[in-house]
Amino acid sequence: MKDADAGTVHREFVKGNEAICHGALAAGCRHYFGYPITPQNDIPEYMSTHMAAHGGVFLQAESEVATINMLLGAAAAGKRVMTSSSGPGISLMQEGISYMAGSELPAVIVNISRSGPGLGGIAPSQGDYFQAVKGGGHGGCRIPVLAPHSVQEMYELTMHAFELADRYRTPVMILGDAIIGQMKEPYTPGLCEPPGPIDKPWATTGCAGRPRQHVKSLYLKDDDIERHNWKLHEKLQRIEKAEVRAESYHLEDARIVLVAFGTAARVCKTAIQWARKEGIAAGMIRPVTLFPFPKTLVHETAGKADLLLVVEMNTGQMVEDVMISTSHHDKVRFMGKPCAMPTPDDILAEIRLLAGKTS
């Protein structure tokens, strides 16, 4: 393909993990804290060599627990902050993530997930879906989760994550995996505007000349914690109403609709192209925000289509959100491949089976 953009726009050939760093720096992130773990090490490596040139702070903490508390502190001081880790490291951070959600602190947390449970392996996996979207931390905390499926999106959704974090005063998670983190493909920086600076009158920046203010998640007095819970709930409802993003791929006339996110959705696109060449009307809903989940689109599509096929690199997690989204439970099918990327042939075979074609 002679790309129409080649030669006319500036393109870079980078790993997904590097594109996250480009997006963070473009969004004005100047504080990164982290602790190494495969397959996300390109992120701290990049930040360690580039953050100083941007006048920012890179700090390798002594653990993930220390990392998330450094993030909390810098976020409370009103800075745009980011950390990244993978499965086990994200588990260690959950207490701090809950504290940050409770304290309403904006931050971006990247999970380039690995296989689990436990130490698992470094194979690509989407096994952290539940932990990410259902609130991995205690006390009913939930945070927006974005799922990029290309290097371009690793860059753009990172910028969007900072914007959401600041607008709603909440941690935001980017959920990727080893494939999308480690592969290189061209992307075009600067296609979307980075979020501008934002006033943070609540930040603890030193109280000289003004009343003291607190950033906290501890509420012991009377009904304070109940009121605080309703406030957070109302915020989540606003996020669910305004911030759903999903890609509709060949959806208009689709009889068999795949539902997939991230790397799995890339593979589904190839399978759908092949299925259409055979005359099977296949399409896809690709949730870009995993929380908030595109419930309305899923339900409306389920009403029109013959079948929904949920494809995940796990044994079945997002499929539960598809079931919650629609009353057409009899139309929902699932195909999972834990800890590995399915091939387009695997998915095409399943599509053919559902379409009643044996060839």
Partner: protein, 180 residues
């Protein structure tokens, strides 16, 4: 061309990931053709054989792994044994003639070239074997222009080694041209 797949393999440290990045970047950035590069990482890459894969296509590439390989480069016996299996029937197994003595058999063409020897004796540094190999693959694949590969090489190699790498690329290109 619909889709063209290349696997660069050898021993960890031979610069095969860089070779893959250079080739894919030549395609994507300088020639404006869709390309994706992936590699083995972490423990997968430890303990000897290492690989890097490049896919070039006339369409946007979604599935980023090689499954039907047009050219598989192997600079070591272990890499040849481990990575030749996905070569397609019209494909090429390109091996270093001194380091791969037992060529795996299959329904593909085998090309043996003195890649490491050319790097160490003709250019003077064994570590440019990856660039010699890239030159050979540029000729064999005929998918990406030589000028673009050279530009990508020069943008990725350490300062002060540009001339040596240019000569390595040309030497590899000529080696392959001689057997085509």
């Amino acid at each position: 061309m619909s889709q063209y797949e290349i696997r660069f393999s050898g021993s960890g440290g031979q610069g095969l990931i860089l070779a893959g990045v250079i080739f894919a970047e030549a395609a994507a950035i300088y020639d404006g053709i869709s390309s994706v590069q992936s590699q083995s990482y972490g423990p997968e890459a430890r303990g000897g054989a290492s690989k890097s894969e490049v896919i070039i296509s006339d369409k946007k590439i979604q599935f980023p792994k090689a499954t039907s390989i047009d050219i598989c480069l192997a600079l070591t016996q272990e890499a040849a044994n481990k990575y030749y299996k996905d070569i397609k029937s019209t494909g090429i197994l390109l091996v270093d003639e001194d380091f791969v003595r037992e060529t795996p058999k299959g329904d593909f063409r085998v090309i043996k070239l003195p890649i490491v020897k050319t790097a160490s004796e003709e250019i003077g540094k064994a570590f440019v074997a990856n660039i010699v190999a890239t030159g050979a693959i540029t000729a064999l694949a005929n998918m990406v222009t030589y000028a673009s590969v050279e530009k990508a090489v020069l943008s990725r190699v350490p300062k002060g080694t540009e001339d040596m790498n240019k000569r390595a690329l040309k030497a590899g290109y000529d080696l392959a041209k001689a057997v085509m």
